[in-house]
Amino acid sequence: MASISDSDANQSSSFKLSMLVNDTRYRGLTFQFIALMLIIFLMAWLGMNLVRNLAAAGLDISYGFLDQSAGYDINQALIPYTSQSSHLQAAIVGVLNTLLVALLGCVTATIIGVTAGVLRLSKNWLISRLMSAYVEAFRNVPVLIWILMIGTIVTVSGGNPREFLGEDPNSNLFLGAFAFTNRGLYAPAVELGPGAIFVAIAVVVGIVGFFLWRRHVKKTLFQSGKLLPAWPSWLILIGLPVIAYFAFAGAVSLSMPDTMANRFNIQGGTLVGKPLIALWLALSVYTGAFIAENVRAGILAVSKGQTEAAAALGLRPRRVMNLVVLPQALRVIIPPLISQYLNLTKNSSLAIAVGYADITATLGGITLNQTGRAIECILMLMLFYLIISLSISAIMNVYNSRVALKER
């Protein structure tokens, strides 16, 4: 409020109280002051209620409960976890599970969405109608119903693991590695031995090298007009890890599901639980429908004249796509695509409906119910999602400002 008194002193002595509302110089300040007071008053009121309610209930805000033993089992955990572990560990398992299903879902949703979006623009009448039906069906029905329905499909499907057992099984493993049973999907597991770190480094170097080569190609093209081939980038990307894999033999190995180990169950490999599969599938197809619309809109946003102009320059169709249409379409597609990733991550909080142990189910569900620490649990839950959302949108803003059209 310093500026009021300053200008008040400078301008005239005829400052009237009504000027606080009627004079445009002060009006903004007045309203902001009122708004600030209201907010402070509201916060203080809520805070006082909280203190009084907590005192009445004999509670306090404390995070000590996180160290206590959780006492419940989680069927799918990426890190070692037993029912003796603490609530904090249960929450971390939940966080990792959320991130896992979000990551898997984003990848498959993108694949489904891009395919459906491109096919919806296809000149084939039947295909485009089929894709429209898919998109409309999934967009207009709540994701919770899809999760429950796909959860039911996954739950009732899959046979007894015994069908896969023994010398002469009734069913063979799919590709010799995957078995879908009523317990879930048995899949090969990656086992890391000594030296695995070098293989990991090779993978990272491969990825970095891939992009460096691409950049080099672009730079030479723009500077000297010479078009270098793109295939060495793939060689770097795939070759380096392969060399590392053989150089450090045994560092990374696959543990296959073993059907011979005993008579009752498949051993070895990893068991992907049914809740994860159900949630993953449901989120992928649901978000895929939205991504399909974004992709379609992005491709339609590139005006036909661009394609025609590129063709008039003598570019071949593939190059027209890569150099002219795609860069412009991606500028339109990527921002909503990232919002869809964000939506998928947030929708994964419905995991509770199929019994998948994500952060909402562990920290916001069982831990909350067991300890009664509602405020602390929900606060942590919200913070977690907030951190994810804000980091994703920060990345998005950086990307947006990089690809945005440079105007005036």
């Binding site: 509302v21 009627n22 903004g28 309203f31 902001q32 708004a35 600030l36 907010i39 809520l46 209620n49 909280l50 009084r52 309610n53 907590l54 009445a56 296809s122 000149k123 084939n124 009448w125 039947l126 295909i127 089929l130 409309e136 069906a137 967009r139 207009n140 029905v141 709540p142 994701v143 919770l144 119903i145 429950l148 329905m149 039911t152 947030k346 929708n347 909080s349 419905l350 509770i352 409906a353 909402t360 916001g364 909350l368 509602a374 405020i375 929900i378 839950l381 919200m382 999602y385 907030l386 959302s389 804000l390």
Partner: protein, 432 residues
């Protein structure tokens, strides 16, 4: 063109050939098939794949749908009647129809009330949706919330009537005050007038508690699809004004107001709706004065409205940002103050641009009302997951029930999105 060669060619036809029909492969169904389905080898393959997919889907779905049993009292009876044909057991829908629509504890003799409110809803929204209808019908729209409240919750009509009176009184106070003071002060006067009327009317209601009384129904007895409709309609209509205010606040030049709006929007958009519902369910009570009992539905409405208004605010912000700078400058040059320029020039255009986005949010919000089933409210999904599937009679009838719920939502949401596309075409004032 044809003249140029007239001297150089030996023979020029002097009469026109009669117009010939196009070759059979270039007309009618055959041409359509050739261009749309079999234009090239990859497309032909795709067509056959699509036909196969449709065949598989329909061959599974149609016998299930058409051979279904509609009259039975339990799943066992259903199975006996079908004799293992694998058809659907739709008897669950006929038997639990009322529960799916109204929940299981709404008094059955009062079903006409929400049904009437539902029918009136269409009358009330029609003048909002279709500008061609007479403007006087908007009176029904304004009366509708009060009538619907009275119909659904029951009790004396005085509560609704005085609530309406307060709004009307506030409106008149606003018009009176606006001649002298600006928008904000008049708004304050209006709110004060309305609150005064509501406060005074409290005594009148206490005097006559039985005047035109319908049997009151507790909020916790509401359920089924009715609950989804109620939450959807109430929250969407409430979140529009809040969203507009938030969007204007976010675009505002006043830093404190801007900061408050940005913080609210980013916070609400950053967390999933389910955590906000948890807040409504278990945390909100801690922040209210001790001893307040607060209806769960009301708490949920508050939270969903907050959620939706943050999203609508972002959509409207897009609309505001899309307006050319000249529109703002034009409004200023006419000498309009902030609220006048917003009301008369900026918002109508910005809202028109944001229609698709607002409809998207509305549809998404309506779908998200099913999430209340996770905090154990019995909306249509909650009814299915809870009482119906848990009962021994209908344990295991998943597809019919989920399919029915999906159909309800599909019809509503698809209808809304088709309407919005129609509206966009109607409002397209730019000539393209």
């Amino acid at each position: 063109m044809s003249d140029t060669h007239a001297q150089s060619v030996a023979y020029v036809r002097e009469s026109f050939i009669d117009q010939q029909p196009a070759p059979i492969t270039e007309t009618g169904a055959i041409k359509w098939l050739r261009t749309n389905l079999f234009s090239s080898i990859p497309y032909t393959i795709l067509t056959f794949v699509a036909i196969y997919v449709i065949y598989v889907l329909l061959s599974g779905f149609l016998p299930w749908l058409l051979g279904g049993v509609w009259n039975a009292s339990s799943i066992r009876e259903c199975r006996e009647m079908m004799g293992g044909s694998g058809a659907g057991c739709f008897a669950v829908l006929t038997e639990r129809w009322n529960q799916l629509l109204f929940g299981f504890s709404y008094p059955s003799e009062e079903y006409w009330r929400p049904s009437l409110a539902f029918v009136l809803l269409f009358v009330a929204v029609a003048p909002v949706l279709f500008a061609a209808l007479p403007r006087k019908m908007l009176v029904i729209t304004l009366l509708y919330p009060f009538i619907a409240y009275w119909l659904i919750w029951g009790g004396t009509i005085l509560v609704s009537a005085f609530a309406l009176l307060g709004v009307v009184g506030g409106y008149f106070a606003y018009t009176m005050a606006e001649r002298r003071a600006g928008f904000a002060l008049s708004l304050l006067v209006a709110v004060l007038a309305a609150v005064a009327i509501w406060w005074l009317s409290g005594f009148a209601v206490a005097e006559e508690p039985g005047f035109l009384e319908l049997p009151p129904v507790e909020s916790r007895n509401m359920g089924g699809f009715m609950l989804n409709m109620m939450l959807g309609v109430v929250c969407v209509s409430l979140s529009l004004p809040f969203g507009i205010v938030l969007a204007l606040g976010r675009q505002s030049r006043l830093p404190i107001i801007k900061f408050i709006c940005v913080a609210f929007i980013e916070f609400v958009r950053g967390v999933p709706l389910i955590t906000l519902l948890f807040v409504a369910n278990v945390v909100l009570a801690y922040f209210l004065p001790p001893g307040t009992t607060f209806d769960l539905i009301l708490r949920v409405i508050i939270m969903i409205t907050m959620f939706a208004s943050a999203y609508i605010a972002e959509v409207i912000r897009g609309g505001l940002a899309a307006l050319p700078r000249g529109q703002y400058e034009g409004a200023e040059s006419l000498g309009l103050d902030y609220w006048q320029s917003m009301r008369l020039i900026i918002l109508p255009q910005a809202l028109k641009i944001s229609i698709p986005g607002i409809v998207n949010v509305a549809v998404g919000l309506f779908k998200d009302t099913t999430l209340v089933s996770i905090i154990s409210m019995f909306d249509v999904v909650g009814m299915i997951r809870g009482p119906i599937l848990a009962s021994t009679d209908w344990n295991g009838v998943y597809w019919e029930l989920y399919g029915f719920a999906a159909l309800l939502f599909f019809v509503t949401c698809y209808g809304i999105s088709q309407y919005s596309q129609w509206l966009e075409r109607q409002l397209a004032t730019d000539h393209r």
